[in-house]
Symmetry: C2
Subunit: 364 residues, 2 copies
Amino acid sequence: MKALDIKARIPYRLHIGQNLLMCDELLQLCHKMRRHIVIITDEIVAQYWGNTLLKHLNAHLPRVSLLSFPAGETHKTRETKAFLEDRLFELGCGRDTCMVALGGGVVLDMAGFLAATYCRGVPVIYLPTTLLAMVDASLGGKTGVNTPFGKNLIGTISSPHSVWIDVSTLKTLPESEWRNGFAEMVKHALLRDESLFHALCDFKYEINEPLCDKIATNLAVKKEIVEQDETELGLREVLNLGHTIGHAIERIENYGISHGEAVAMGLLVESYISVRLGLLQESDLSCLMSLLKKFGFLLKTTAFEPISRFMAVLTLDKKSRAKVPRFVLLERIGCPYQKNGSYAHPVDEQILLEALKWAEVNLK
Amino acid sequence: MKALDIKARIPYRLHIGQNLLMCDELLQLCHKMRRHIVIITDEIVAQYWGNTLLKHLNAHLPRVSLLSFPAGETHKTRETKAFLEDRLFELGCGRDTCMVALGGGVVLDMAGFLAATYCRGVPVIYLPTTLLAMVDASLGGKTGVNTPFGKNLIGTISSPHSVWIDVSTLKTLPESEWRNGFAEMVKHALLRDESLFHALCDFKYEINEPLCDKIATNLAVKKEIVEQDETELGLREVLNLGHTIGHAIERIENYGISHGEAVAMGLLVESYISVRLGLLQESDLSCLMSLLKKFGFLLKTTAFEPISRFMAVLTLDKKSRAKVPRFVLLERIGCPYQKNGSYAHPVDEQILLEALKWAEVNLK
């Protein structure tokens, strides 16, 4: 079992390994909490892992409950939060409750927010069960729910008590979900770690120690970025690499495309812009394209056509200033481009149009 | 204008004076925020002060809005919070929003919670307009909403940017509301400041500098207690003086009695217990009784009869352990009783019954 210490407003520790869900250390931690333990999960993960964990904890601890809600981003709402709160009150949970968030990013965001405001704050332990949640949502402290006006608009920045990344839970993960996590891993490598980028060429959807190592390297990259900039004003912007284009694709496809596919295409288009601006080498772009194809990304979307619609949606991006979208660019693999202290740059409209035309031809 | 610096997770400053709502310093602060300013208030305070403040800020700042909700504790709900969030999104408010909470405790609790989770946290400035909010809700960082399961069950501990206590807004405060604040002031004096207790004998419902001084002294008392114990584990428990009995009265009267009346009676019953246990002098209890009567407290309730019902409701108190209610007791005026590091004590059932019989005779 590997461990990583995170410096946040409230520091916490990340554990990475196999078969952690049933390990003694986690059980002892739950016991030490001397509290009512409540597993928060979604209905799918409850079937795969939740009920087993409940049974295991119940055999050793006095008060353990499980609450689940329907799986998926569409259920990450204020209404689901209120529903869970009312169930917690019915269970008689007070300030001596400790939550255990078991699931993907949606479950972690929901349970993190739930815990941050339940009785004005109770501790929560994260047990991510998707590769994406392991390398992304488990670090950074962002919690929240969606509203009809947009994603993650209501929430907090708050730390879990600790994070236990049990890669064995990936056994039940569909391949498309592996790709969602893989796209973020590629992003981290592009931002900070050229050797990780090359190591990812040998990546396999297999549960073993090298997987634990790669997750640990990824988290070290995100940790370095997040710790330097907890409130997302400067360096943390780099984590949006691939996401300006990626989010626009998702919006136009009405979230009918997976986040990983959208980000993969975003990484390619934004790398093309970097090449076009004379920053990145063309060979690096080719390298990225073959890596993504090798791992089964389809890299197909109809979102770029017509370009005028795509441009209109781009201006709605969170990073836009005065309706001009801004992009994280690469100087080389492992190094984002910085200018005047900023990592998010406006791009000349002509170059942007050219990049979209390139995408229209190459990604469809 | 007086100022008091509060050490909290995020330190902030309290300003106390007359005519602060329209003062240049507040206007300059709003200007400095370079943000969309949104006044959050209730429908009654909007009439008295909100619309005037909106007009004033609008004359000097580019983007100012006002959102109001129906007045009263029954509207401090998750539903009202979601309603306000949706109005904020409709107004196009992003992370560059600064909220201004204008009103009593309900408005401060609601706006504080709203700000703590809107776009994962935006700043909020508190402008309390009731004596109770000035001496109580403006300090301590508690925010939150009620649910059908109880009061303040969902919320956060978070600091406002700053607090501006404009005593001139008390002009429109009904006398019963003055008493709600006065009861908390008496509580603070009983806990920490004998001279404040005697000064309160000359208290008048008048807006002048001595009022500002008394509010400042009160806040200094609460500040000392809260700063020593931000997470409410030890010393902060003393702030529940009068509230174990007070909350039980409110529950039985179904909140048809004012908080101030309930707390005043709670202070008397709990002081009686202190006398009965040989801690407090009987003359201090008489002093307290005449002070409260002088300031128009009715000190009447039917809640104590039958005593069995009152006892049952008492056990539901938040401070109860294993269903045994706990009380803050007084050693003398200005000094709570401490034993084994705790300030909340179980009381022998016989003595408790005796105190309730005393109350039944003396407070009805």
